[in-house]
């Protein structure tokens, strides 16, 4: 099963390698990992996408919790949450009508053209995995020259209490 796990850590050097070392040292797989500072500059948030059976995921979360620099671990598996990732794709449509088609598709996917050259467009797309993958599939025929992907970030949905 694939799990998205968010890990709040102390924002210190070496912490990323402690976390990634935990995965590599124990043979756990990381599918994606994204890190950034939170509003509290002393704390960073890591979002890790990993997979494994229940026992493996249990070990992963326990081992993460055991790391001295880890403040909090949340597995989003059974939790209503929002997930996003961003990609930058540089496409090189050859003909004029292809160029128009690329722009049209980008619009449909609520993408933004963030750079353009004589033969290329660089498009930014944000969304969940399905959307990203669908867009990439659509772009392939036009010739993807470069491609950069952030990995996921996730956050729990705030429950709305019904009165």
């Amino acid at each position: 099963m694939r799990h998205t796990i968010s890990v709040l850590v102390e924002n210190k050097f070496g912490v990323l390698s402690r976390v990634s070392g935990l995965f590599s040292g124990r043979g756990f797989n990381i599918e994606s990992l994204s890190v950034g500072e939170t509003i509290d500059p002393k704390i960073s948030l890591m979002t890790i996408v990993t997979s494994g059976d229940d026992l493996i995921i249990e070990q992963i979360t326990k081992q993460l919790n055991k790391l001295i620099d880890v403040v909090k671990v949340v597995d989003f598996m059974d939790m209503d949450h929002v997930e996003r990732e961003m990609i930058l794709v540089k496409v090189a449509p050859d003909k004029r009508e292809n160029k128009e088609e690329v722009l049209r598709l980008a619009e449909i996917f609520r993408g933004r053209v963030v750079d353009s050259g004589p033969t290329t467009y660089t498009i930014e797309i944000t969304g969940d995995e399905k959307k990203i993958e669908a867009f990439v599939e659509l772009m392939k025929p036009f010739g993807i020259k470069e491609f950069a992907r952030t990995g996921k970030v996730a956050i729990a949905r705030e429950g709305i209490k019904k009165k």
């Binding site: 102390e10 070496g14 402690r18 326990k62 081992q63």
Partner: protein
């Protein structure tokens, strides 16, 4: 108050109550060593190898329960500590290692004697630090001692760049340590403890599996009370030997690969297994799927990651062993008023039958010394009152099987990593912690050669450590496996040249004795104990002897071989060259 980094370091160690550190000097730590020169509170024990320093600190910690401290230089000094640190890590021993580092400015530049020791030791320390600012030093040291000694104990490394030891900073001693992300759970969940108590009262064939966690939490008294109250037999892992009296009628000795027949049978047939501070090492479980097939499993451990890592667990209890056992005793005494002895009668009878059927044994021989006989004699003569350390191999297993440990912290052995060369420096550390006690390293001729240079440390510091070398001229345990599983192809397990250990001892200014006949064993042990300084006892033992019973790697633990299956093995005599 302004102090240099070196001064802060020594002041912190003093405040932590450290009296001895084990170490070895080098360029970047010279400032610290200079301060040690006329320091009255701290004595540095100069070992002859940094690995020896860390094992000695580890032995000191295991024997005394107080953290052990080592100080080494950068680069090669630091990398030499890795085996010692990994050994302490695997066995959860509180050791603090200070390594020198090149000046902050040069870090990352491949400077002379630079090594990224923080990176190298990250996977084998509980935590580690690179100190970048002298003003952080006191806090970091305080945190390091806190982390090393609380929760599941473990080694912590502090890397000290040279300039940090020279720079002046404010010395502020933090009275309390607070690390927001580090909060070990000590109290076990009450509901879970209650469930465990209910299981105990329902169970007909329970077994307690006691591990090293009982010793490090100091819960041995509670364990004994629990076992006696409920009449549950106890088996102890290698790390757990001493957590329950080995001479107690409820003791079943060690389980697992070289465990007793009765411990393994009892585990396999139990309906309830209560694991206390034990982590289910594969040497204990054998084939995991076939381990304790009919048992409900209660697992008490301070480290949540130990639970359900290797075996299924029905009742997990995260907490300090001592506190959890206390609570459990309270519940058992209040709620359940069973006549435990009656309830357990049949089960204990069965276990006693197993004990009679297959006791630990070996064949005595009049002409050649059996290694088990040496261990037995050591036990007899010391009345079980020594601190025993071991090396790794057959010697370690015989030390576990034929010496009985009634008290915690009397067997110091590298269980998790299985480090040859551990026992001797660990014995030095233990002896330093307890100058008046008898400390004996039970060694193999292979293992002792891994840190034999520490004899100098023992001699200079007048540490009367006794080393009983079970000299079989082989890497015995390797030979045993080759004999049993590799068609007797003894690939590189014959040591060919073994030094004359008596002469080695004498060369270092110690005493050496040799026994070649069983009749000489007792005399030599007594002589060694009487001798003031360190002693090597070279016992030329039956090199063909193997450790039994044995479960082959990956087999269920009740499939044991005893060594007497094929009486007359068609063995051609092999010539052993013993260089004496």
């Amino acid at each position: 108050m302004k102090m240099t980094g070196a001064e802060i370091l020594l002041e912190c160690l003093k405040r932590e109550g450290v009296k001895h550190i084990f170490g070895y000097p080098g360029g970047v730590v010279l400032n610290i060593f200079d301060h040690l020169y006329d320091n009255k509170d701290l004595k540095l024990i100069l070992t002859r190898h940094e690995q020896g320093a860390v094992h000695a600190a580890d032995g000191y910690a295991r024997a005394s329960g107080r953290p052990g401290v080592a100080l080494v230089t950068s680069g090669p000094g630091a990398t030499n500590t890795v085996t010692g640190i990994a050994t302490a890590f695997m066995d959860s021993v509180p050791v603090i290692v200070f390594s020198g580092q090149v000046p902050t400015m040069l870090i990352g530049n491949d400077a002379f004697q630079e090594a990224d020791i923080v990176g190298i030791t990250r996977p084998c320390t509980k935590y580690n630090y690179l100190v970048k600012d002298v003003n952080d030093l006191a806090r970091i040291i305080r945190e390091a001692f806190h982390i090393a000694t609380t929760g599941r104990p473990g080694p912590v490394l502090i890397d000290l760049p040279k300039d940090v030891t020279v720079a002046k900073g404010d010395f502020i001693w933090p009275e309390h340590v607070k690390i927001r992300s580090y909060n070990p759970t000590y109290e076990g969940n009450k509901w879970m403890i209650k469930q465990a108590a209910i299981e105990i009262s329902k169970s007909k064939k329970p077994v307690i599996l006691a591990g090293g966690g009982v010793i490090s939490s100091g819960g041995h008294k509670e364990l004994k009370e629990l076992a006696e109250l409920t009449s549950i037999p106890v088996t102890m892992t290698l790390m757990g030997l001493g957590s329950f009296p080995g001479t107690h009628p409820l003791s079943m000795g060690m389980p697992g690969m070289h465990g007793t027949y009765y411990a393994n049978m009892a585990i396999q047939q139990s309906d309830l297994l209560i694991a206390v501070g034990a982590r289910f090492d594969d040497r204990v479980t054998g084939k995991v799927d076939a381990f304790a097939p009919d048992a409900r499993i209660v697992h008490i451990d301070i480290d949540p990651t130990s639970i359900r890592k290797n075996v299924r667990v029905d009742i997990p209890i995260v907490g300090d062993v001592k506190l959890v056992l206390r609570e459990m005793l309270k519940v058992l005494k209040e709620d359940v008023k069973e006549q435990w002895e009656q309830v357990r009668k049949a089960w204990l009878k069965q276990i006693n039958a197993w004990k009679k059927e297959r006791p630990l044994s070996y064949k005595y021989d009049e002409n050649v010394i059996k290694p088990q006989f040496v261990v037995e004699k050591l036990y007899e003569i010391t009345k079980g009152d020594a601190i025993i350390t071991t090396e790794v191999g057959q010697n370690q297993m015989w030390a576990a099987q034929f010496y009985k440990y009634d008290k915690p912290r009397t067997l110091l052995s590298s269980g998790g990593l299985g480090t040859m060369g551990y026992g001797f420096p660990a014995a030095i550390g233990a002896q330093l912690a307890f100058p008046d006690r008898l400390v004996i390293d039970i060694a193999g001729d292979g293992s002792i050669q891994m840190n034999i240079q520490e004899l100098a440390t023992a001699v200079i510091n007048k540490l009367p450590v006794k080393v009983a070398i079970l000299n079989n001229h082989y890497l015995g345990m390797v030979r045993q496996w080759q004999e049993l599983f590799f068609k007797e192809r003894y690939s590189y397990s014959n040591l060919d040249v073994v030094p004359d250990f008596v002469k080695v001892a004498e060369a270092y200014g110690a005493k050496g004795f040799r026994a070649t006949k069983p009749g000489e064993v007792e005399g030599i042990i007594r002589e060694a104990i009487k001798t003031k300084g360190p002693v090597f006892m070279d016992f030329i033992v039956d090199w063909k002897e193997k450790v039994f019973p044995m479960v082959s790697a990956g087999a269920p633990i009740d499939q044991m071989i005893f060594g007497d299956e094929k009486k007359e093995e068609k063995k051609k005599e092999e010539k052993v060259r013993i260089v004496t």
